[in-house]
Subunit: 313 residues, 2 copies
Amino acid sequence: MYRPEIKIVDCTIRDGGLMNDHRFDTAMVKDVFDACVEAGVDYCELGYKADKKQFSVDDFGPWKFSDEEDLRKVAHECNTKVSVMADVGRTDYDTILPKSESIVGLYRVATYAKEIDKAIHLGNHCKQHGYEVAVNIMAVSHVLEPDLDECLKQLADTDFEYIYLVDSFGYLYSEQIQYLADKYIAALPGKQIGIHCHNNQQLAFSNTVEGIIKGINNLDGSIYGMGRAAGNCTTELLLGFLKNPRYNVRPILDLIEKYFIELQAELKWGYEIPYLVTGILNKHPRSAMALMKDSQGVSFGDYYQKLVSEDSV
Amino acid sequence: MYRPEIKIVDCTIRDGGLMNDHRFDTAMVKDVFDACVEAGVDYCELGYKADKKQFSVDDFGPWKFSDEEDLRKVAHECNTKVSVMADVGRTDYDTILPKSESIVGLYRVATYAKEIDKAIHLGNHCKQHGYEVAVNIMAVSHVLEPDLDECLKQLADTDFEYIYLVDSFGYLYSEQIQYLADKYIAALPGKQIGIHCHNNQQLAFSNTVEGIIKGINNLDGSIYGMGRAAGNCTTELLLGFLKNPRYNVRPILDLIEKYFIELQAELKWGYEIPYLVTGILNKHPRSAMALMKDSQGVSFGDYYQKLVSEDSV
């Protein structure tokens, strides 16, 4: 499976930050960046560009805001580019520096399909400031087909480099990924398609592989799967699978041993039954995360039944 | 994905027994059987039929031997049939009772391809005693193509009901599963094909789904994935995915909460880096299991490097 166009985006710190309010030690984030460089990872996503007028710096760690000075403490210019995520409606345009003043290489605009106009506006702003731009259409398993088609049509007319297929709820399986991958590729000539999967049903890696088979070249992973709720496709699985000689899994394995085994035991992302339940039922993991924090005596079976009943009318 | 021919074989106690020397409490095994019944699982595999002349009853729990009286303590005649596994070369033919005297419905003969003649001999013995028979060709990722073809040709001439595609090392990904599923189905007209996957690369469930798509109808799962090393496709994922109205995931979710969360924390089957390493490299998990028990200061990275070097000449 050696295809030179393939690029890995490691989003450990960005997506993983959703499990610890973005409170990572600077030294650890630097270790992650350095391991990504050594492993040949193409992009290392270090955080969100959240608006400090909406979110207090007292409530979150620095990787919620990704100030230039914080990014420069951990990253340097090299073959591994720095990526940051900008949420539609939560980003302060004024904090986006001209590319010449920033170590960031890629802005990834995260949006729901219904906010695609705002996403394109934000993406254009980033593009005008000199960055590569991706748009991640989140929660595609909740989007009606005509809305998705319209969304992709609008994105086809932009000069953004990457458009992402995102299974936010870990609901999709191979045949659905294949269908969507075909759709994105057909609708977006000249652009690279990316894929970002969640692991509620242990399908994040396999769905990413289905994406590769279909021609998707931008692959999101996170170390040991660290990410919201069930987490992501793991970076180490991607590195082990891809045959491109520039990739090397070993630095990531060592990093897992150093940090992530312990962190996972504490924060409990990954295959957990409440996340499985929301995945099977195509729901946001919000209520599952609350249950993981404090079950209040609700059993797994009761939780499943409750969510099934919510769908009844 | 409602196909009435589909059958789930839950092998929690049998494959899971490889993680605790088959020492499960009788009450727990009974709970597993009862939950399988309630969930609509078609077969519940309770153990091995190991030869007591080769293995001491002092060294293992009862589910290594699956004596009739032990099986009857936990199971009863109902829609969920009892399955046991008989390893080629490790089974005492004399302990296989006539079907009329046994609660067992299905014997699954586990074999390597090179021992297929012995497997057919043992399978015939079971068939003559009145049982359904499956043959599981283990470690197919190590079998040369002409040997596998010969193996399947010999099995085509038997009257065994089920032949299993088994990815013992958790090495295969979707395209390889698709290729093998096509091969098994083409070579074995009139028989049902089964699939048993290990989860070293988090592909056990997705590969089982690929099997379903290709026409495989016998699906192995285990509760919370309990099985040797990285474990198996989870029964709860299968039940959540399959649309047959006779299946119900809830009893399994409750059982996970009652027993398996704690058991997993103790025995540590599942996605662990040493198992990932043997999976990526298509190796038996033996050395990884030893590392998990006592690393002797060997880091994940060193272990990976050591196994990669072993392949060099």
